[in-house]
Amino acid sequence: MSATFYDEVQTLRKRYPDPLSAVLPALQLAQERNGGWLSEATLREAADALDLTPAYCLSIASFYDMFHTEPVGTHLVEVCTNVSCALSGAQDVVDAFERSLGIEVGGTTEDGSVTLRTVECLGGCGWATVVAVDNRHRLHVRAGDVAGIVAELGE
């Protein structure tokens, strides 16, 4: 990251009556620029731009599920396994991803291309099973669709 990031964070801080409110958008930007996760260096840089301590930024990053403080794959696949999706077969979808990617939930493929997670309710209960691929929601996913999604990620 660079002066650009610093300047962009200053713009974000000006959107709010209190610049502290820019913590989430600034960390979101920092994570996006750092390949999907917040390294120590990234947190330091974000903290600098926000005029906060790195420890404060980490306390925020560790509270919210969408921030990652460990490396993640180039692509992030997140399967909702809350009740409505589970009633509709989310478990089969998770199994299919595990088989297709050759990893377990929580893991990343050896080549670092895909991280597989299960997540709490994504707010698509009537369109189960919901799978977020890089934060874009695929709806009505069935185990049979998984191979196609994985193939897409390899392209």
């Binding site: 502290l20 919210y64 809350n82 009740v83 998770v94 929601h137």
Partner: protein, 450 residues
């Protein structure tokens, strides 16, 4: 979607989306805003009071009354804020998302009218981080309003959350919006007096706000004619689970629960039979299939049945589901989402997960079942926000309504649905967060002693 019901929230969409300003204006969009600009704040509030619109986020608090609690600028000479809660995360609920996707301009029009009612020129929409597409659609809609100079002097900032169910609780949301960990505050002071940046703040749900323009347009009294007296208007019901046609359906309050599942939703999928219904999101008490007859989807009917309309999220559960497994999964959710501020909730949700897992594995005893309910009673009413309470209410209802199933696990020394339950093998989120993989001394599982 039921064809006989007049739509209010989704009016004019004809099943599609109204994301272009010209299309929205062609169906009467922004006329409510123009009317509101000719009204005083008190007149707008009076119209809301006449409508008896009650909060659609789950608390069912009268919207007009909430606004009337916000002091006038001359009483408290600080900026006033309107904060819209678009952090929809209650399992089973996906209605605000569809509202933002299909009628983003009506929602933003509602924001502008609501801001005027509380004499605010600063609006923050706190949208859950997972709703990326909805965020983009809102920002695009906002840009059209800005270009068309419809915002007046009001600024609307769409602020993305970052994944935390607790931020749907209004004071946790305010903390999060202020750039802190999303943990609930003590009340009082209530947000109306000291909310965002310690200033007067109204916090409203997306659906409530989107209902404001139609109310101003048709008049509060007219709106109040829809639905039963204590639960006026329409509601966007989120129907999910084992039904043929899950989805969001805008229907009048007072609609029969059975009809929502069997008529609108097409009945239970795969030729199965209904076992249980969660009527208002995961935080509400469960109903058995036999109990739904005669119940209507409104505040009074569901309260009398010992549950709640909550966020109007109806989850139909078929006969393949093991209710103890359901309990484990729901408990895991609340354990994961507990913010950790209040000990009874932080520890209690963990205990209930462990006890339920033990029961599900057939290793539990009657004493474990008693302990499960005892933990629930001890969490109830001892925390700053309702997260722990509602988790315990839900779990206690599973035991109350399906006690035989819990006892069967104990007596048979295993799950009677082993190999057939629809929830078998379900995995709760595996977090890669440091917070969840910390020192063993802190994170060592508690020994549950019966």
């Amino acid at each position: 979607m039921s064809t006989t019901t007049p739509e209010i929230v989704f009016a004019g969409t004809e099943g599609g989306a109204l994301t272009e300003l010209a299309d929205y204006e062609a169906v009467g969009g922004l006329s409510a805003l123009r009317r509101a600009l000719g009204m005083t704040p008190d007149e707008i509030i009076a119209e809301l009071n006449a409508s008896n619109l009650r909060g659609r986020g789950g608390a069912f608090f009268p919207t007009g009354r909430k606004w009337s609690f916000v002091p006038k600028p001359d009483q408290v000479p600080k900026p006033h804020y309107l904060v819209v809660n678009a952090d929809e995360s209650e399992p089973g609920t996906f209605k605000d998302r569809e509202i933002m996707l299909r009628v983003p301009l009506r929602f933003l029009e509602g924001c502008l009218i609501a801001a005027r009612a509380i004499e605010s020129t600063h609006v923050f929409v706190y949208i859950r981080g997972e709703y990326e597409r909805e965020y983009e659609i809102l920002v695009a809609a906002l840009e059209q309003l800005r270009k068309g100079k419809h915002l007046g002097g009001t600024t609307i900032v769409v602020h993305r959350g970052a994944g935390a169910y607790i931020c749907g609780e209004e004071t946790a949301l305010l903390e999060s919006l202020e750039g802190k960990r999303g943990q609930p505050r003590t009340k009082p002071p209530f947000p109306a007096i000291a909310g965002l940046y310690a200033s007067p703040t109204a916090v409203n749900n997306v659906e409530s706000i989107t209902t404001v323009p139609p109310i101003i347009e048709m008049g509060g009294a007219e709106y109040a004619k829809v639905g039963p007296e204590s639960s006026t208007g329409t509601r966007v019901f989120s129907l999910s689970g084992n039904v043929v046609r899950p989805g969001n359906y805008e229907l009048p309050h007072g609609y029969p629960l059975r009809d929502l599942i069997y008529e609108v939703g097409g009945g239970i999928a795969d030729g199965r039979s209904l076992k249980a219904v969660i009527p208002g999101g995961s935080s509400t008490a469960i109903l058995t299939a036999a109990e739904i007859d005669g119940l209507t989807l409104d505040y009074d009917s569901l309260a009398q049945a010992g549950t709640a309309i909550g966020s109007a999220a109806v989850v139909a559960i078929d006969d393949r589901c093991c209710i103890v497994q359901l309990g484990v999964r729901i408990s895991q959710f609340y354990e994961h989402e507990s913010c950790g501020k209040c000990t009874p909730c932080r520890v209690g949700t963990r205990w209930t997960t462990q006890i339920l897992k033990k029961l599900e594995a057939g290793e539990g005893s009657q004493a474990d079942l008693d302990l499960l309910l005892d933990v629930g009673e001890k969490v109830n009413g001892t925390c700053l926000c309702p997260l722990g309470d509602t988790a315990m209410i839900a779990i206690a209802s599973y035991v109350a309504k399906f006690r035989e199933e819990f006892l069967a696990h104990i007596e048979e020394g295993g799950c009677p649905f082993h190999g057939t339950s629809s929830l078998e093998g379900i995995v709760a989120p595996t977090d890669v967060h440091e917070a969840h993989h910390g020192p063993a001394a802190i994170h060592r599982p508690l020994e549950v002693v019966a």
